[in-house]
């Protein structure tokens, strides 16, 4: 479900668009790249084409520029190791180490070493979870629509926009459509008491 298919869940940001060349460079420089090593945890972030998370080639502008609209996606990949499984395997390895060394308890340094080794093994085998946010940047209006309302994803999107294009994406509200005086008055207000017999 996205801006090109099906129903859409989205939010808006004010973000003046830089010129086309800057956007092109920003996309290319911050495009999705597969991690070099299979052992990684932190989210890996990069731009990809709107129609394929595996494709991060923006050299053909006809694939992402549609008149005033720029259409592309943010890919966020993350590897996670289930904590309970990690602890279970770790406990077993500690028991094995104790048996092999005739000790009742493993020293902290050994436990840490075993944990690091185990974590690396598990991360090597873990499949990353991938999340995609489709972005439509209306360059005429300076408005970005992103097809997510997840705060964590929006936070990553805002950071990657800043890193890639040097723009600060501000959450959009309809207050911008009001005269300055009305807006100032409105922002001083709090919600009314709408209960039956309210304000009594």
């Amino acid at each position: 479900m996205s801006f090109t298919k099906g129903s859409i869940t989205y939010c808006r940001f004010r973000a003046p668009a830089p010129d086309r060349q800057q956007v092109e460079d920003g996309l290319a420089d911050n495009a999705w790249q597969e991690p070099q090593s299979p052992v990684w945890r932190a989210p890996v972030i990069g731009w990809c084409c709107h129609d394929s998370m595996l494709d991060a080639d923006f050299s053909d502008v006809n694939r992402w520029v549609f008149g005033q609209y720029l259409l592309f996606s943010l890919r966020v990949a993350e590897k996670k190791v289930p904590t309970t499984l990690l602890q279970a395997h770790l406990q077993r390895r500690i028991s094995t180490w104790c048996a092999e060394h005739g000790r009742s308890k493993a020293p902290a340094s050994v436990r840490a070493e075993l944990k690091d080794a185990l974590l690396e093994e598990m991360l090597r085998q873990a499949l990353p979870s991938n999340r995609i946010v489709q972005v439509v940047w209306d360059t005429r209006e300076g408005l970005i629509r992103a097809d997510t309302v997840s705060e964590s994803m929006l936070d990553l999107l805002r950071k990657h926009l800043r890193r890639s294009f040097g723009v600060t994406a501000e959450p959009y509200t309809p207050l911008g459509g009001l005269d300055e005086t009305i807006r100032a008055q409105f922002q001083l207000l709090g919600p009314a008491d709408l209960r039956a017999g309210g304000d009594r």
Partner: protein, 184 residues
């Protein structure tokens, strides 16, 4: 304009949704948007569709949910408002000319969820993008216009009349709803 200048005070988005619900019920689903600077007067059809949920003010946890046809017209939903619950989100049906939309709007950030666009056909990706963005922008335009109309009423002396009308409407049995509280 900075983000701070655009920020909605807590509870105001919920109040807007409540006003919108009342307005659509009061006018039988036919809503007039007044002419404002740079925007012509227009009439659209709008009503609460099949979802209306409530929370306690200041807490996003949903405490009451109404689903199904004509949800906005049901006395229990109005009664929930009259006892002081805030609208958490609602699904809204919109029709302008022959274009129909259904969208859920949340009262935290006014994000749009599950926007259903009218049937559209386009030849090629570029035409599809233009067509769908035209429809998305129309929904945003209509909702922003509705919000501006609410803000104009909210900052005027008419608001006291509107509050009284909303309270009366919320507390009244279904057949006794008045049509007071003209927003003009």
């Amino acid at each position: 304009m900075s983000g701070d200048e655009q920020r909605l005070a807590p509870g105001m988005a919920s109040e807007f949704l409540c006003w919108l619900w009342w307005l659509t019920e009061r006018d039988g689903g036919r809503v007039s948007l007044d002419e404002t600077r740079g925007h012509e007067c227009l009439v659209l059809e709008a009503w609460v569709d099949d979802k209306l949920r409530f929370c306690v003010a200041g807490d996003s946890k949903v405490v009451a949910a109404f689903m199904g046809e004509s949800t906005g017209s049901t006395p229990p939903a109005r009664e929930t408002l009259s006892i002081g619950r805030s609208v958490a989100d609602l699904s809204l049906f919109l029709r302008r000319e022959d274009r129909q939309y259904v969208v859920t709007i949340d009262a935290e950030h006014l994000h749009r969820r599950g926007l259903k666009l009218p049937a559209h056909a386009a030849d090629g990706l570029e035409a599809l993008v233009f067509e769908r963005m035209f429809l998305v922008e129309e929904v945003d335009y209509l909702l922003d216009r509705l919000f501006c109309q609410y803000a104009l009423v909210r900052t005027s002396s008419r608001w006291l009349t509107v509050v009284a009308a909303i309270r009366e409407w919320a507390a009244a049995p279904v057949d006794e709803v008045t049509t007071d509280g003209d927003t003009r």
